[in-house]
Symmetry: C2
Subunit: 369 residues, 2 copies
């Protein structure tokens, strides 16, 4: 704590014992425990009727690690209370910080990727008129992230992504935070391992900082199951995991690997005619949190595919900007709000942030009437 | 460095002295210095014709801090070279990391703000059809950041912002990284002080990590000059600083304060009928990098203003969500690419990132032909 004499912030706890009052005052992520006595604190009676979330400025005197009040300089009453999402937003800030620390400690570069993408030939996207050209808001930065990994080795980004789906479920937003991770590796198992390390490490880091906020149960290892095995068990018929997601992950976080080609992204490398080097990460109570794959970087295949789909103008840069077509590039994309839902036991994704977009714009729908 | 025996990465330096070769291999932000000898390295002749940016996998043996080659497992030739912007992108990643470290160390919460904003009544914005509602891409998150500060004390965000200006200058992009900072304070001087601390501290942090990449000259204090004084000197006629920006900041970074009401944001608190509590931060060779103000949070004024401009539906939430209308909220917004231009001596903003948007989409304009 800085040796300042003036402290300003919101009252987060107050105990008045007549001629002595104990205050907790927070300013941003910093918290001060302050003592005020009737004898020594000028303006002591300004503390009367002070409540949580009121704003206070105090001139203090700091001795032996204790903070004493010289004067109550000002008090501003809060008659509305704070935004109810603020406390989740603080946990979310800590999660973001620990995610970034993980990648910094593991030698990933943060890259910044464009959110205006060329072309708009897709159903669930927000269209943009980009100076007369067809464009759209990013629904995934996977291709950009892949190219950056091919050039820089190990990269991650945390940026907004968009899905123009007017969904009203408890785990979908039309604008959300996407973590994209890409790196050069040896084989598909490197991806399973990296994702598992990331999840375990972030769980431990956040649990160390704010253990009372963590609602996810501790876990040892993250089990890996193949789609083919789940197919036998649930009769998935080469479709998505859908309603089975929660059942599969009911005992703890689970990684499902080797999805059928029919439901995999075109950018995943095939294993054979039926399956691809792909994975989904499922969390208890939430379902899908991340998906990833070993990228198919075969130049001739990609050029053939783009030509067939008439996407050369829109996507040939993806081939041109990969300087190492025979190297394995591993990638995953993770919805950070969903990770937060699992870790902090949040049942509705809307309660993480006051300003959310589902099929509505929260602030104009809920406030300003 | 981890005690792994397999090392993969891009060759960033190679010196072959016949029967001994010294290699530098980078993987992400991690760098290895490796020795290979003709006697001990199986596949030594794979090193022949190896060049910078080629990709290599080596089985190594690590003794006394030295890394020796047991086997050259694989080599992948890079025939294209890496993206020319990669080296600037690495510096940019370090800058982002140090900016975030500054705010973490100073007890700011990172907040995530929406980039789809309600309404589209403005000239230089990208319009969006948001499920039938008029919306636009964020040109500033200042109002959201202000509300979050009123509720959480000290906040910052780093997100994409957008200006639909088909500009072709060397310092404008239509999609860029905006740092928004907002906090509760005592007076306008707190803002001058916070911005100055931030700039000085980030300069020192980055200079400590990558001194050879810093091209900005060292500075002691950041001088503060008033618009009124500059008006006398340059005859500004209540207009922007325009072409005088570089002259004003030619000797070092400079903060200009108290702009005329006519060219200030409506959200800045007036000092009197002529001037506002506002500031611009100018950097040598770049010009404007940041602007900020003491927010006008007077509830009755804001409601009157929004009613007059028929913006109640679009903006009344801004008043409703501020629980402390009589508290001073200080804010600034900073273009991170411009900060990077100054620090790293970059003359064209496009050379920071392979994927940029000016009036074109860089990757489809430059590649994939």
């Amino acid at each position: 704590m800085k040796n300042e004499s003036f402290i300003s912030g919101m009252v987060t706890d107050i105990k008045c014992l007549g001629k002595i009052t104990f205050l907790t005052v927070s300013h941003g992520a910093e918290t001060f425990n302050i003592v005020a006595t009737h004898d020594q604190a000028v303006g002591y009676n300004k503390l009367k009727n002070l409540k949580n979330n009121d704003y206070i400025t105090i001139n203090t005197n700091q001795q032996n690690g204790e903070i004493y009040t010289k004067e109550i300089v000002g008090v501003e009453k809060n008659n509305k209370g704070t935004i109810p999402e603020s406390s989740n937003a603080k946990n979310y800030a800590i999660l973001l910080n620990q995610i970034r620390s993980y990648f910094f400690d593991n030698n990933f570069f943060e890259v910044r990727l464009p959110s205006i993408h060329p072309g708009n030939n897709k159903g669930d996207i927000f269209e943009i008129d980009f100076f007369g050209k067809k464009a759209r808001l990013s629904s995934s930065n996977a291709l950009y992230s892949t190219v950056m990994a091919a050039n820089m080795g190990k990269v991650y980004s945390i940026q907004r992504c968009y899905r123009a789906e007017p969904s009203k479920t408890s785990k979908h937003l039309s604008e959300f935070d996407m973590l994209e991770v890409s790196f050069l590796g040896q084989c598909f198992e490197d991806l399973i391992c990296e994702l598992s390390n990331f999840i375990s490490d972030v769980f431990n880091r956040v649990n160390k900082l704010i253990p009372d906020q963590i609602k996810a149960l501790p876990f040892e290892e993250i089990p890996v199951v193949s789609y083919a095995d789940l197919n036998c068990k649930y009769g998935l018929l080469n479709k998505g995991l859908g309603k089975h997601e929660r059942e599969i992950a009911k005992n703890g976080p689970t990684t499902v690997i080797h999805f059928p080609s029919k439901i995999s992204t075109w950018s995943a490398l095939p294993i054979d005619d039926n399956y691809t080097y792909s994975l989904n990460f499922l969390a208890p109570g939430v379902g899908e949190v991340a998906e990833g794959c070993l990228r198919d970087t075969r130049e001739s295949f990609l050029r053939y595919k783009f030509a067939k789909l008439d996407l050369c103008d829109q996507l040939n840069w993806y081939v041109d900007l990969n300087p190492l077509p025979n190297i394995k590039i591993l990638s995953f994309g993770l919805g950070i709000e969903r990770l937060a839902m699992w870790l902090f036991g949040i049942t509705n994704i809307r309660s993480l942030n006051c300003f959310y977009r589902d099929k509505n714009i929260s602030e104009t729908m809920k406030y300003g009437k």
